[in-house]
């Protein structure tokens, strides 16, 4: 549970990125606190000799850094759409898979009693198709212009937006990693690659600006970031997942 709470608090803190005024708000403070706690906790687990390899720690560090970067990306109001997109991709595409590769539950197990660790994992036990659907819904629904503008205008909604982005992405990638051996991981990644590409195409080819304070070119750049570089990350993830199927197991 702790991880989920951490994740939720952390992501909501990202709302700070678009805070209309310069005053650090409660969400940002919480987010940084959670990031610090996560780093300290992981470090403690590492020192206690949890079954973590160097590459797990490196992945976790990478995911942590991605989130921290997303926090530091603080576009001034009016938020440039493209920068915003980079921030969202850091939260959905970079941080979640890396954090999962860091084996957070193994780390947690060396710090917390077993029932607690099990409890924390319960929300992740959704069927893969449902996780896929949550991720897709979060992505598509928040890009409806009115909702996106509302989130940009209200720190609370913004926190909610980032929380759903991050949490649904965490769920999605968790499912993908769990399905690596069954081959369906490739299917979920490919279809996500396709529907994010479709959304990106709509943003790129819209003849008029859709969002408040966003010039058309900015919107096109945002769409392209979602389409090409983000698609490239999906492609690499898909190929890695696929490669797992080709390993000969005795």
């Amino acid at each position: 549970m702790r991880l989920i709470v951490l994740a939720a608090a952390l992501s909501s803190g990202l709302a700070h990125a678009h805070a209309v005024d310069a005053r650090p708000d409660a969400y940002a403070v919480a987010a940084w606190a959670v990031l610090a706690a996560a780093a300290l906790g992981y470090g403690a687990a590492w020192r206690r000799g949890a079954a973590l390899r160097a590459r797990n720690a490196a992945a976790f560090g990478g995911g942590w850094t991605a989130l921290a970067l997303a926090l530091l990306v603080t576009p001034d109001a009016p938020a440039p759409f493209a920068l915003h997109m980079v921030q969202h991709e850091l939260m959905m595409l970079a941080a979640p898979p890396l954090l999962i590769l860091g084996r957070p539950f193994t780390a947690l197990a060396s710090l917390a009693p077993r029932p607690l660790v099990r409890g924390a994992a319960i929300p992740l036990r959704v069927p893969p198709l449902a996780a896929w659907g949550c991720h897709a819904a979060a992505l598509w629904v928040w890009h409806v212009p009115r909702l996106f503008d509302a989130a940009a205008a209200s720190p609370h909604l913004h926190a909610l937006q980032h929380a759903t982005f991050f949490a649904s992405a965490l769920l999605f990638w968790w499912t993908v990693f769990r399905r690596l051996r069954r081959g369906t991981a490739v299917f979920y990644i490919l279809t996500t690659f396709m529907h994010t590409g479709a959304l990106a195409a709509l943003l790129t080819f819209a003849p008029a600006a859709l969002y408040a304070d966003t010039p058309l070119a900015e919107q096109q750049l945002g769409g392209l970031i979602m389409w090409v570089p983000a698609g490239f990350v999906m492609l690499v993830a898909g190929l890695v997942a696929f490669d797992r199927l080709l390993v000969e197991r005795p």
Partner: protein
């Protein structure tokens, strides 16, 4: 490998006499007129390849007519109208009636034997796909002789192809004909996916699967995901032409570019749908001819998958000249160039394999070398046109014609000829002549380069494509003449090939020429129509090389299933990743239903084209009747006892749920449906982006009680179906609950239908797209209702109970899918405009 060989054989002892004769009798092809009902993959595969090659020759003749017209300046052999039809038909027939079907046909012909199965899992579906394609394709081609052939170019861009600019039946032939043939391609793709994933020989893990099977798997998945886009696009354009629903008419809020997005979302993967199987064939031929395992096999498989992935993101690079945002160009330029990486990996893997081994310079090798040369040149010009400044210069000139022919002839036709020569001994009593083959290769190679290389120069000299003639003195004359001469050299090569085929090809599965190349994969095992006498255990990528004595052990029945224990056609269903045996699948025997269904499906679409609506409807009904008759014979009664296939393995002879092949086919069909629906959602949002002004504000939308009521009814129908499932599991009758589900779903759809009655589909793109969703919703609900009623009828006939329940399960998962899809539609049609309205 020697210790692997020491594994005990499943059936070591001598087999009782008469088993082979029984297999032969069970798998024999029907005789006389009933031969038309043949379904065995050996026969359907050969017929399929033959039909596709016929279309290749026909489309080639059209090309010769065009080249003759262009041989000299201001020629008057062919007028502009006929010329437009010629290039449209040439491109369309080559792409849709030759390239895609022929690789699918090679899959049908080769895959079962390559995988160690007795046949593909749905042989009647293959037969249906073949006959529908052959009849539909022939009628489509014949439109040329009565002046009804389409003339809008192979990609049919509106507004040229809207009714205003292209009246008459011509474009309708393209839209209905091609839309219909794509449906047959999807049927074949479902067959191939289930075949590759579920009927591999025990031990053939994914890593050990032959490259051609890999390529066909990727190919089929791409068809499943990409072809629905073109089916939807053709449906939209046909709705616009026939009923004036303005999807593509700008003044009513439509956008012709929507067509291009949908078409190229299909069209770009289509290029790889054609190329990847050809690459898979090359990856089979190269190791044999070099006597070496393929270099970097794992990388080559990853390259196939990477190409497929990339192809779904890159459709826009066919639209560089349509005025897309300038900022996007650099992104797509970079992404387009990335395609060179996976293609390069494969090319280098083939070269490395050749370099490591002792290459036998037989005719297949020559064609592979020719392929490498021509395809790499086509790839290089591809990198050139991926550079946008160059593309804008070369766009719509003969440079593009040269590029695409180098890619397609290099990337597809040459590998195909290599495959014809390579696999001929597999399907014929005699191999083709090596001596004649060298001439065929020489003529085709010289001809292709002579025809198409000068076209690069022509394009750079400014000659546009698709012109029926040109003036003298522009510096084009000599080049055109050379190109025309080249075309006739190609024709001579093809003719020589046909003569050799007529002389040497004698179809036979039983006493074929056999493994003349010393190849390493299972299709070269001796066998008959039943494929292999016994189904081997595979321990590596090249079983014939790695498991000495395999052919003899297989032939003497020492492996699995050396007989026909249930007395009918059978094969082993294995698990998708590790290929462990799961079920003994009993397979259908020949009957008329697939052929009748195929004929009347084709008749339905073709009569619709010429607006004979009532006759078309009658044919459609006959087709549905034949399909239902066919469906009635599915799901045979379970056998009480498990069947011994050898090695102490006893398999159940009946399966339902996710182990059964039927469940897999339905799951893949639902994926196709989802892809179609996703394309419709994309179209809705795209049209909104283009002309948000045609969308009503919230007050003009149907009252929100409509979608709420509709959603409640639909969810209730799903619940009712769920309770039917519970009844069936308890042994009670599911019929009342199914009936309730049907009533609820129809009411739910009726509510949604009624809510949009006030909107005129002809008035604006909004109206058109809303009614498109109503139409799609109605179609899916109708199909679900038919499946559900079918399950009820099975129950009444005593063919459905808690064990024998495949028809019910398929209806059930499709039902839940349709309800989920309809809910998404409700959210989009009623929720989105409320949120989006200013």
């Amino acid at each position: 490998m020697s210790d692997e060989r020491a594994l005990p054989l499943p059936n070591p002892g001598p087999r009782p006499a008469g088993e082979v004769e029984e297999l032969r009798r069970i798998w024999a092809a029907p005789k006389g007129l009933r031969f038309l009902t043949v379904i065995n993959n050996n026969y359907i595969g050969v017929l399929y390849v033959g039909a596709a090659f016929l279309f290749f020759v026909l489309a080639g003749i059209l090309a010769l007519m065009m080249r003759t017209q262009l041989a000299v300046a201001e020629n008057d052999l062919v007028g502009p109208t006929l010329y437009n039809r010629l290039f449209t038909m040439h491109g369309t027939v080559m792409m849709f009636l030759f390239a895609v079907p022929v690789v699918e046909a090679m899959g049908v012909l080769l895959l079962p034997n390559m995988l160690g199965a007795r046949d593909l899992p749905f042989p009647r579906l293959s037969a249906y796909a073949f006959w529908a394609y052959f009849i539909g394709g022939t009628v489509f081609f014949a439109s040329l002789f009565v002046g009804w052939a389409p003339a809008g170019g192979w990609f049919m861009n509106p507004p040229l192809t809207t009714e205003y600019f292209s009246p008459g039946f011509n474009e309708d032939f393209w839209l209905l004909g091609i839309g219909f043939i794509e449906i047959s391609a999807i049927a074949g793709a479902i067959e191939i996916i289930v075949g590759v994933l579920r009927t591999r020989a025990p031990g053939m893990t994914l890593a050990r699967m032959p490259l051609f099977a890999w390529a066909m798997l990727v190919f089929a998945v791409m068809i499943i995901l990409a072809f629905p886009a073109v089916i939807l696009a053709t449906a939209l354009l046909e709705l616009e032409r026939a009923f004036h629903w303005p999807f593509f008419t700008a003044e009513a809020g439509g956008d012709p570019l929507l067509w291009q997005h949908l078409f190229w979302f299909f069209g770009h993967p289509e290029v790889y749908v054609i190329f990847l199987p050809a690459a898979g064939m090359v990856s089979m031929i190269v190791p044999t001819m070099a006597g070496q395992p393929l270099a970097a096999q794992r990388l080559v498989i990853l390259a196939l998958v990477a190409t497929a992935f990339l192809s779904f993101g890159l459709w826009v690079h066919h639209m560089f000249a349509t005025g897309i945002p300038g900022i996007s160009l650099a992104f797509f330029e970079a992404a387009s160039m990335a395609v060179a990486i996976p293609s390069g990996i494969q090319v280098f893997a083939w070269i490395a394999t050749f370099a490591r081994g002792r290459v036998r310079l037989a005719v297949p090798t020559l064609f592979v070398l020719g392929f490498l040369f021509i395809f790499v040149l086509g790839g290089l010009t591809g990198v050139m046109v991926a550079a946008i400044p160059f593309d804008w210069q070369a766009h719509d000139t003969y440079f593009v014609v040269a590029h695409l022919h180098y890619v397609l002839i290099g990337g597809m036709v040459f590998p195909l000829f290599a495959a014809f020569y390579y696999w001929m001994p597999y399907t014929s009593r005699f191999p083709l002549s090596e001596r004649v083959g060298r001439w065929v290769f020489g003529l085709l190679f010289a001809g292709a380069n002579l025809t198409f290389f000068p076209m690069h120069v022509l394009g750079l000299a400014g000659m546009p494509r698709r012109v029926y003639t040109y003036q003298s003195g522009l510096g084009w004359d000599a080049i055109n003449l050379a190109s025309t001469a080249g075309a006739f050299v190609i024709a001579a090569g093809v003719l020589l090939f046909l003569v050799d085929v007529a002389r040497r090809f004698r179809m036979s599965a039983e006493d074929n020429a056999g493994d003349v190349w010393g190849a390493g994969t299972l299709e070269w095992l001796p066998g008959g129509n039943y494929s292999n006498r016994s189904i081997p255990v595979v321990t590596g990528r090249y079983p014939l090389w790695e498991q000495p004595g395999l052919a003899k052990d297989v032939e003497e029945g020492r492996y699995y299933l050396p007989n026909a224990p249930t007395g009918t056609r059978e094969t082993i269903l294995t698990s998708p990743l590790e290929a462990t045996p799961q079920v003994l699948m009993r397979m259908p025997v020949p009957g008329w239903a697939p052929q009748v269904a195929a004929f009347f499906t084709a008749a339905f679409f073709m009569l619709l084209t010429v607006k004979l609506v009532w006759l078309a409807a009658a044919c459609g009904l006959v087709a549905v009747g034949a399909l239902l008759h066919w469906g009635w014979s599915l799901d045979p009664p379970p056998l009480p006892d498990a069947v011994d296939i050898g090695g102490g393995i006893r398999l159940p002879a009946y399966a339902s749920g996710p182990t059964s092949q039927a469940w897999w086919a339905m799951a893949i069909l639902m994926l196709t449906a989802a892809s179609l629906y996703a394309c419709a959602i994309f179209s809705y949002l795209y049209l909104w982006l283009v002309a948000p002004g045609t969308w009503p504000d919230a007050s003009a939308l149907p009252r929100s009680s409509y979608p709420v009521v509709s959603a409640v009814l639909l969810v209730a129908s799903s619940a009712a179906f769920g309770s039917a499932n519970g009844s069936l599991a308890r042994g009670a009758t599911p019929a009342p609950a199914i009936a309730a589900a049907i009533v609820l779903a129809l009411a739910g759809f009726g509510t949604e239908f009624a809510s949009h009655l006030a909107v005129d589909p002809r008035a604006s793109a909004y109206g058109a797209v809303v009614h498109l969703f109503v139409l799609l919703g109605g179609f899916f609900v109708a199909v679900a209702v038919v499946l559900a009623a079918f399950a009820m009828a099975r129950r009444l006939a005593g063919k459905l109970d808690r064990v024998r329940r495949v028809t019910f399960d398929n209806a059930r998962i499709f039902w839940h899918y349709v309800v989920a899809q309809s809910l998404v539609g409700l959210l989009l049609l009623h929720g989105f405009p409320r949120l989006a309205a200013p």
